[in-house]
């Protein structure tokens, strides 16, 4: 038994991402859900269950039942940090695949700009981060630790390393400038990126994704049902989930230069549908680029680049829109923005539109994609919550 090809996405919606000061958390949920309803040509009363992913914006399944008036159906809040949105989709698919529910919604949303904080609110209550042990646990700092070690391990002079990272940022901004719903829509140059203020050395401002408001939604049903609903439904082909146990700062064997969870999750997803060579078989990927170094190491984790060689592929333009294997065609977290719980669903949204050939700006439409990979990793190095979701066109 596996989840393989048992579920289909028949409708999706995504809000404009950005600093939505005029918009509430509930507004974002309504906006994303109703766009998905319209796309799937259903109404909210057609749903028999729902999953919502977010980290800090609200609580419980009621957070979606209330704004959408879901009238006492099953709704669950799932939380796996930055992978929360993708977890909503994964859990929804498992429920549909086993036959418990027929038509469900998986939605991710986050409202960050109401907090007044630079960065993210403290996650997970006082038992996640010991109040006297690991305060000031900033996300950029954690990834910066990995960047320093990655440069050292592969003998990359830090300035050269920063240049490689800058190229990733430049690519994502280029793509984001071609995504109408993206948060940041300006192109940038390597020089600009290199000259930006340092946030957590070696990472500068442009190595970090913004804090963003947004939501995205998917309507998921059985393949049988999907066939009756539309011709261009998208198949959910496989998932992989791997959760790190947080030992990066404990275990002296952890090298800080590879993402073990990403390797495990993607291998599971590849194995269940027989992907042997992800470099040629995966047409495009939406990956977790909360920081530029994250995307660099993700290339290696997903098997797109050999360990230690990702910078060569970056230099070759492999992951650009026009490259051999486009990554983050919509701009990724860097340019599209990162409303934590929404991002996983947004990544699947881009895969869905790309596979359908219906990307909102044709300049970033990839020709004839077959398999699209969405990747989310929450947490920090050594303690990732990593989900990989592969979608594809029906055979």
């Amino acid at each position: 038994m596996s989840i393989k090809d048992k579920c289909a996405i028949v409708g999706m919606g995504c809000t404009k991402f950005g600093e939505r000061y005029d918009t509430s958390f509930e507004d974002l949920i309504v906006e994303a859900a109703y766009e998905a309803f319209e796309d799937a040509k259903i109404e909210s009363k057609d749903l028999d269950a729902g999953w919502i992913g977010f980290t800090s914006s609200s609580r419980t399944g009621e957070s979606m039942a209330r704004p959408l008036k879901l009238h006492n159906i099953a709704v669950t809040h799932v939380e796996n940090a930055c992978a929360s949105g993708m977890e909503a989709i994964r859990n929804a698919c498992h429920a549909v695949a086993c036959g418990e529910y027929k038509m469900v919604i998986a939605l991710g949303a986050e409202k960050l700009k109401d907090s007044g904080l630079a960065g993210l609110p403290q996650p997970g209550g006082m038992h996640y981060i010991h109040p006297a042990m690991f305060t000031q646990f900033n996300a950029p700092a954690n990834y910066a630790l990995a960047a320093t070690r990655y440069f050292y391990r592969y003998g990359i002079e830090p300035r050269k390393g920063k240049e490689t990272l800058a190229k990733i940022t430049v690519k994502n901004h280029f793509n984001g400038a071609r995504a109408p719903k993206a948060h940041l829509r300006n192109e940038v140059t390597v020089e600009q990126v290199m000259a930006a203020p340092i946030i957590a050395y070696p990472l500068g401002l442009f190595d970090c994704c913004p804090t963003t408001d947004g939501a995205a939604a998917a309507i998921i049903t059985t393949v049988e049902n999907a066939k009756k609903m539309r011709n261009d439904y998208i198949l959910v082909r496989s998932f992989g989930l791997s959760i790190g146990e947080g030992m990066a700062a404990v275990d002296t064997d952890y090298d800080w230069t590879h993402w073990e969870e990403t390797i495990r999750a993607s291998q599971k997803a590849y194995a269940s549908i027989g992907v042997k060579d992800p470099r040629t078989e995966i047409s495009l990927a939406e990956v977790h680029d909360c920081f530029s170094i994250s995307e660099l190491i993700v290339y290696e984790g997903l098997g797109f680049s050999e360990a230690g060689k990702a910078s060569e592929d970056v230099d070759a333009g492999t992951f650009a829109l026009t490259g051999r294997q486009p990554v983050n065609p919509d701009g990724g977290l860097k340019a599209f923005g990162h409303p934590v719980g929404a991002s996983g669903v947004r990544k699947v949204f881009e895969c869905y539109k790309q596979l359908q050939g219906k990307v909102d700006d044709p300049r970033r439409q990839i020709k004839n994609p077959k398999l699209a990979l969405a990747h989310s990793q929450g947490g920090q190095p050594g303690a990732f919550e990593c989900v990989v979701c592969i979608t594809g066109l029906p055979a």
């Binding site: 109040p131 000031q136 700062a249």
Partner: protein, 472 residues
């Protein structure tokens, strides 16, 4: 034989140039510098540092008494000695007490310690004196007060300096004071302070002791005594007939400053560092009276070397970049922190985890031998449950595995260096590198652990072990 068995000291890394103070108030000149505790240091953390130095190479469990002397404890109500004992991993059967309200607290602690040992109630009594006093911005006190700590272990075996005599007087005078809630030292006009308080009292104690013991000036190898500043120190030495060049312990007014209640213990450490067997050391303190000790240095002194002490800290220094920086690290000028989540604290968690947080004890798996910090229930390597022994890491050195410089951290003095460090002998942790030194932290750099304040949250102070570049 009762006396001092070991010594240790601590001087903060940062020094404020007198010239910078002068410049801040549109004056020229300014000679020398003052030691300034960093924003994450207080008398408790500095006391821990001096104690670690003093107890170097010893079993910590021998200490049965701990006296902490200061006029600037972090808490008005709550014992600092208990925090220091926890950080040092001292045993639970411990007599611990604070002496916190007199400039002579250091000497009083030493007197009590020798008394307890003499009475047989203590075998090894640790005297820790530490001070972070503040003067009003622009005041004379601001120009003389410095921060440091000293520690002396008192016992009746292996004594390096035996106690020969003690003389003490009590005196009531309102010369220098701080009332409840006063952040800055206050005093009456200086002629009154010097003539009616300091001069009269300390002279009486020193002369009193010498007379009692039938001593002449030439019988004293070194006199160690408190003074409010360099000028008074010099004048007192001359007035008493001692040769300032050969017989008087340097007060370090131009390098460290007047260290208040810690001054006598701190200066005594410096005197012991260069003492020879047979030396007679007279140690005198002032504050609400005065007292004087007479110590005789024993041949054991030669075994008591290799402590970092005063010598090991005094040239290990870094200039504060400005007077303004001093105002910030001493929290005299308000600082707007980065907008980060509100920091929380939990007294029950601190109680439950004090071995881990305050003593920096991790665990070592009895099955596979892996050292793990923070403590775990299930071994990350072999998955064995609850088969661990406690393992102290605070006294281990470590090597930087990777690091970053975090400009977003909510701290009084950003940026913060965070690092993953691997301990000598096993174990790894994520630490803050205190006394940030961006140029000198690299992968492979050796660090040692330093007990520091992490934050004041929910109305109380939390401490943690950070790392820092090796001093000395």
């Amino acid at each position: 034989m009762i006396g001092i068995k070991s010594y240790g000291a601590y001087i903060p890394l940062h020094r404020l140039a007198q010239a910078d103070i002068a410049k801040a108030y549109d004056r020229g000149g300014g000679v020398g510098e003052l030691a300034v505790a960093n924003f994450d240091e207080d008398t408790v953390t500095m006391g821990v540092e001096a104690s670690v130095d003093c107890l170097k190479g010893m079993e910590r469990s021998i200490v049965d008494t701990l006296f902490f002397a200061t006029t600037s404890p972090p808490y008005r109500e709550k014992q600092s000695a208990a925090i220091i004992a926890q950080a040092l991993d001292l045993k639970r059967q411990l007599v611990a007490n604070d002496l916190c309200d007199s400039l002579r607290s250091g000497n009083m602690a030493l007197n009590l310690a020798t008394g307890l040992v003499a009475s047989g109630k203590s075998k090894n009594a640790l005297v820790v004196a530490s001070e972070v006093r503040k003067g009003f911005p622009g005041s004379e006190y601001e120009r003389v007060l410095g921060d440091a700590a000293g520690a002396l272990l008192v016992g009746d075996t292996d004594v390096i300096a035996s106690l020969e005599a003690y003389y003490c007087i009590a005196d009531e005078i309102t010369d220098v004071w701080r009332m409840e809630g006063d952040p800055f030292v206050k005093s009456w006009e200086d002629r009154f302070v010097f003539t009616q308080g300091y001069n009269r009292n300390i002279k009486e104690a020193i002369v009193g002791l010498m007379k009692k013991q039938g001593l002449q000036q030439k019988d004293i190898s070194k006199i160690v005594f408190y003074a409010p500043d360099a000028r008074n120190h010099q004048a007192m030495a001359k007035g008493l007939g001692f040769d300032p060049k050969t017989q008087v312990q340097d007060g370090m007014f131009g390098t460290v400053g007047n260290t208040g209640a810690a001054a006598t213990i701190f200066m005594m450490v410096a005197a012991l560092e260069s003492a020879k067997p047979g030396d007679m050391i007279l140690l005198a303190g002032y504050g609400d009276g005065a007292d004087a000790f007479l110590f005789k240095v024993t041949p054991e002194i030669e075994k008591c070397r290799g402590h970092r002490g005063v010598k090991g800290h005094i040239n290990s220094k870094k200039a504060l970049t400005s007077y303004n920086k001093m105002l910030r690290v001493r929290e005299i000028s308000p600082v707007e922190m980065a907008r980060r989540p509100v920091e929380v604290a939990s007294a029950p968690m601190m109680l439950r985890d004090r071995d881990m947080v305050s003593t920096m004890k991790g665990v070592k798996c009895k099955v596979c031998g892996r050292v793990q910090f923070p403590k775990q229930r299930v071994c990350y390597h072999c998955r064995t449950k609850d088969q661990f022994e406690l393992y102290r890491l605070s006294d281990k050195t470590a090597t930087v595995f990777t690091f970053c410089v975090d400009h977003l951290a909510a701290t009084i003095d950003p940026p913060v260096i965070k690092a993953i460090v691997d301990f000598e002998g096993g174990g790894r942790t994520l630490v803050t590198i205190a006394d940030r030194d961006v140029e000198n932290v690299k992968i492979g750099t050796t660090v040692e652990m330093a007990f520091r304040r992490i934050h004041d949250a929910m109305g109380f102070r939390n401490y943690i072990w950070k790392s820092r570049l090796v001093r000395g």
